[in-house]
Amino acid sequence: METFSIIFAIFLGGAVLTYFAGKLSSVVQDILFLATVLVPTYLFFSGVSIGSSMPFSLEGISLLWGVNHFGWLFSLIVLGLGSLAAVYSVGYMKGKERRGYFYLNFVLSVMSMLGIVISQDLISFFIFWEIMTWSSYLMVIYSGNDVQRIGIKYFVFSAIGAYAMLMAIVIVHSVTHTFFIEDMIQAYGQMSLQLQIWIPILFLLAFAVKAAMMPLHVWAPGAYSNAPMAYTSLFSGALSKMGVYGMVIILVTMVNRLPQGILFREVLAWLGGITAAMGTLWAIKQDDAKKLLAYSSVAQLGYIIVGVSIGTELAMMAGLFLAVMHALFKGTLFMVVGAIEKQTGTTNFTEVTGLIRKMPWTFFAALMGIIALAGIPPLGGFIGKWMLYESLITSDHYLLVILIFFSSTAAFLYCYKFLFGFFLGQEEKEWAHVKEAPATMVVPMVLMGIFMVVLGTFPGIVLNPINNGLMDLGYVDSYKHLWETSIIFNSWGDHVILQPILYSIMGIFIFFLIFVLWKGYKGTRYVTTKDISSSGEVPKEDENLTFSVGFMQPFMRAVAPVMRRQMDKYYTGFANGLEGLFDFVRRIYTGNAQTYAVYVVVFIVIVLLFKDVLF
């Protein structure tokens, strides 16, 4: 297939060109960057038909690229979010330093993610996986804050995952002698039980790291919050989905074929559930929007993991739908934070308040994102949540559903914190000068917001490709018995019909809104937020009345016993121990030449003593 080569050539060439175009002029650079992302996107969706493939070989290894329905679904996420985030980036990066660096890594990330999705063999999968890892690592350390800790933590976790995957790949290769995923799947049935268990574990380790699953999630908050927001929207929205992508494939093709009694899925699902709960609780505690969204991403990925690891039809659809939704709303929310960061210079809830009248479009996008995130009807997030609950209940995961419900209810707390912290509350004088973000930033956000609304009523738009993808993976067609364009069913036949609900909601809402505004909008007049009943006190203009410090304190007190245990601390302890060990090891090299000579003698003596064993 020609198109694949062209797409990747454009990506690579464009990335390098964009990098160097910064020396010429920033406008050229912007245009080149946009072209580098948008042209391949166009080419991919117009020129690549599902089912096409491109075999070739490298270093004596035969490789295969191709698109199937399932991959297409994820390429939709990657390229869709990628293009929007690219448009957003142009506005976001205006006037920032190291733009070339940013654009280069951005393009490389998008390219590698697309590569992952179209890889039909393990080697190119791994190569793209690693490119994705290091390009995202370079983005994580973009700001230069705390790179030694956060960046390296991210990379080490990624590397542990990736190396686990590499191990699995070469083990598979030693059995099958090819690297094709197809062959791996076929040979899996004939492997020994030990391999059958270990190979999925190793693969899932890699995917779980990227999907920020519970004990492996500690990199996520730092990484998400330290990358530039324009990238984080892609990072959290699309890049983490690659973990989900891999997970689905492994779960469907391997874990499904494990003999009964191995609780693979259960363990995974519970880990996902715990991830969701803990991520939510930690998100509530954060005062920094980036951190909050980062933990929230961890939590949301937990839901997705739960969905895909339960693995019934409905659960799989729920997981994948949530994945799409998560890409949308988390992409939007990170963009919102980016816009706020650009306009105000900070992302801390305790500093920024009352932006709603200054940045109304941003607020709209944020509102849509938050409603979708909270899973409240009539936006798309609800569809995913609904399917997830129903699938958990119908597949006998009673306690898990409680855990999930707990975390999604608790999610309201941070959702509210996000909206309140930035947009609502007192309008302080300090932020009176803030303007709405530039159009290139607002348009992608608002577009995604609108798309979320549409998806809330017509989820069939996304459920259709998901269904096709799942059919690729061997599931039966679920149209008409699990979903229709705007109806969703569970496997017991209960359903939610979305259109009348939407219309009712809108009707009621408009009716009462008009009632409140009975005598016309002119009748009620806007007064500033300083005009509040504060015991008759007159707040001065520069007096900060905003309530934002210790926002969810009572709740945090209630859950304090759970929060006391931090995974991070254990890892830090472990790492410190290791460094101590390393320090001890290097003392072997004492610096005394005679000692080294003694080592030589001792070596000979030892080898001679054990020569019967060794040789």
Binding site: T590, Q594, A597, V598
Partner: protein, 125 residues
């Protein structure tokens, strides 16, 4: 002389050579003075050379030279020439190494003001 004595002597020569090597090794490993270390290394090499020559020796053999004595004499046994050649080479190399070593020792002494090997460990860990 009877053959057993010869054999004993053989072992004696080997043993002596090895003893010399071990003495040299001891010197290199234990003595604290840089010079003694270098001497130890040299002694070790000398012991090795001795050993090699001894290995190449054949009982009653003459020097490996196609001289008149060899060609005309009754004793047609010649010691192995190869080890001797090797030893010559090794001696030359050993000489070079020792020279380099001594020059290094001089430099170290200039900088450190001591020959104690224990005090010359700026580079460690």
């Amino acid at each position: 002389m009877d053959s057993s004595l010869f054999q004993l002597l053989d072992y004696g020569v080997y043993g002596t050579a090895i003893l010399v090597m071990l003495i040299g090794l001891y010197g290199a490993l234990v003595k604290k003075s840089l010079l003694k270390v270098v001497i130890g290394l040299s002694v070790m090499e000398s012991g090795l050379n001795l050993l090699i020559v001894a290995l190449g020796y054949l009982k009653g053999g003459t020097a490996p030279i196609f001289s008149d004595g060899f060609l005309n004499g009754t004793n047609k046994v010649m010691v192995d020439p190869v080890p001797q050649a090797l030893v010559l080479t090794a001696i030359v190399i050993g000489f070079g190494v020792t020279a380099v070593a001594l020059s290094l020792v001089i430099r170290l002494y200039r900088h450190h003001g001591t020959l104690n090997i224990d005090e010359i460990k700026n580079l460690k860990w």
